[in-house]
Amino acid sequence: MDGFIHQIFSGIATGGIYASVALALVMIYQSTHHVNFAQGEMATFSTFIAYTLIQAGVPYWVALVATFAISFAMGVAIERIFLRPMANAPELSSVGVFIGLLLIYTSISGWIFGYTIKTFPTPFDTGHPMLGGFVSGHELGATAVTLVVLLSVYAFFRFTRLGLAMRAAAYNPVSSRLVGVRVGWMLALGWGLAAGIGAIAGCMVAPIVFLDPNMMAGILLYSFAGALLGGITNPLGAVLGGFAVGVIENIGGAYIVGTELKLTMALVIIVAVLTVKPSGLLGKTVQSRV
């Protein structure tokens, strides 16, 4: 039983990371109807930047904030340079650009930072287990950081003028433009925010899975599964879906299929959601005009 509770807690901890990446995916999907297949590789690259900063002696939290800022700028730049010209291109082209970005990011990560597996530092006390031994210090800290990120994103979209403008731009670009919202820049800001959230998720997961250029491939898959489970049109759903997938993954990995098939579980969740309830638990039903 203790083992079971332990699995639930570590499921929530990794689920938080999936939740943040799922939120980043949904943010981009909502405004552009693109699924960013390079999200994981971008986050890995950012994590490498954080690693380099920390190795250079920058304090952890300063490095984390700096990484967020750098990733934000990178996300904005990518939207402006690579995706703006693709705004009206067919789906195959936009998917192709994401695949191109994925290839470029993985290669550059390997090129600059090398392929050896690195241990990533954690700022949290890992000496003694917390909450009666059910959860490690890093898991607790990572969950806290994830929650802070998610709440700040919520507050930003709910209570600020800029957040409102970004929501408007995603919801109805034409009307937003008419009332003076600069829709193009809102999309770029959304990209920046998504890249920044991904970077923090990368830094939180790196101490658990170790850092190498392909670190996020599996995480991206779970986040896809989480976003679909919660509903890819609903940010709150994506977050809940991310947590749910984390717990399902841990319980399933420990008791049902074994750790060797964890990735397959993401595939099964995706196929199951698409078959049973394609709109996800909280998403809007997609209607196509006939």
Binding site: H33, V35, N88, L92, L103, L221
Partner: protein, 339 residues
């Protein structure tokens, strides 16, 4: 969403070209003669590379059928390549089946798996299929390594198979035979694809890609045709996997990561997504460009592929096939008096 712009940008001329011109036939025959002649010209290592070009061409052709002609984006065709490779390797290794009999077996298995995967995903929008197939491609090495299948798949170690000998006492070595055999199968597959795509079914596939609603109004069962197209496409790529396994004489889970699927995708786009001939060019591209880039650095092949992919998407979305068509038209009509 952008279905009609897909048509105009990706393949503007496929429908208006039903007949085979004598010139094209001569060109085809010459190309085939060069391809056969290559078996007696190149060293064994280069022949192996050319064999892999034929293998990749079939695999990309499979992807092209579903993505280029039917508009269903698949990012996981490496999984079908892997399944085909494993079917052949297991049949040859465990059951002593001759290599040429393993091809129909892997065709059946891959078509079946493709049908089952396509069934839930194809009913939804293109991105969901891209997502599902991407997930399949990421998961497939883990599945192949799994303990329950280890007796068949050899787990992480994979399976080593033997190179087939040339039959009928032909005076050629194993590599030459392997190349010619692969080339022969490749020609059959290309002929099948050409025949499928130029007829009623091919038109229906393109109609679904370009304007699904109109296609439905014409009486096409969209979900069924999409799923069948996916199955046929998986079959092509699966046969390529079988031939690849015979050529490499080895299969292991880590040869079939998600990057194999991505390579097929890059090859398809660079060659020309909705083009039969483009598949050949794409195969040359993925076989030789990484080798060239590899001399610069270990990381370079990926970056070079990514950059070339993006450049093609911007500047030549119809790939090399589109550029070639454009060049031919320019040459035929020296004075642009309005087409």
């Amino acid at each position: 969403m952008n279905s009609n712009s897909t048509m105009t940008t990706v393949m503007p001329h496929a429908i208006a070209k039903p007949a085979v011109t004598p010139l094209a036939l001569v060109g085809l025959a010459a190309g085939l003669a060069v391809a056969v002649g290559a078996a007696f010209w190149f060293s064994d290592y280069h022949l192996f590379q050319l064999t892999m070009v034929v293998v990749y061409a079939i695999a990309i052709l499979g992807l092209s059928i579903v993505t280029g002609f039917n508009g269903q984006i698949s990012l996981g065709h490496g999984a079908f390549y892997a399944i085909g490779a494993y079917v052949t390797a297991i049949l040859m290794d465990k059951y002593d089946v001759p290599y040429f009999y393993t091809l129909p077996a892997s065709a059946v298995v891959c078509a079946g798996v493709g049908f089952l995967i396509g069934l839930p995903a194809l009913r939804l929008g293109g991105l969901y299929l891209a997502l599902t197939t991407f997930a399949l491609a990421v998961a497939i090495p883990q599945l192949l390594k799994h303990k329950a299948l280890e007796d068949f798949t050899g787990g992480v170690q994979g399976i080593v198979i033997l190179k087939p000998d040339p039959p009928f006492g032909l005076p050629i070595n194993g590599d030459q035979w392997l190349y010619l055999f692969t080339l022969g199968v490749g020609c059959i597959m290309f002929l099948l694809a050409w025949n499928l795509l130029r007829g009623r079914i091919g038109r229906a596939m393109r109609a679904i890609r370009d304007r699904a609603v109109a296609a439905e109004a014409m009486g096409i069962d969209i979900a069924m045709l999409k799923t069948r197209t996916f199955a046929v496409s998986a079959m092509f790529t699966g046969i390529a996997g079988s031939l690849g396994a015979i050529a490499v004489q080895f299969v292991a889970p880590d040869s079939f990561t998600v990057f194999l699927s991505i390579e097929f995708f890059v090859g398809m786009v660079v060659g020309g997504a909705a083009s039969i001939g483009g598949a050949v060019f794409g195969a040359f591209f993925i076989q030789f460009v990484p080798n060239l880039a590899d001399q610069i650095s270990k990381a370079a092949p990926g970056a070079v592929r990514g950059i070339i992919l993006i450049i093609f998407l911007y500047l030549a979305p119809a790939g090399m096939a589109g550029l070639t068509r454009m060049a031919i038209r320019r040459l035929r009509r020296p004075k642009p008096t309005g087409a």
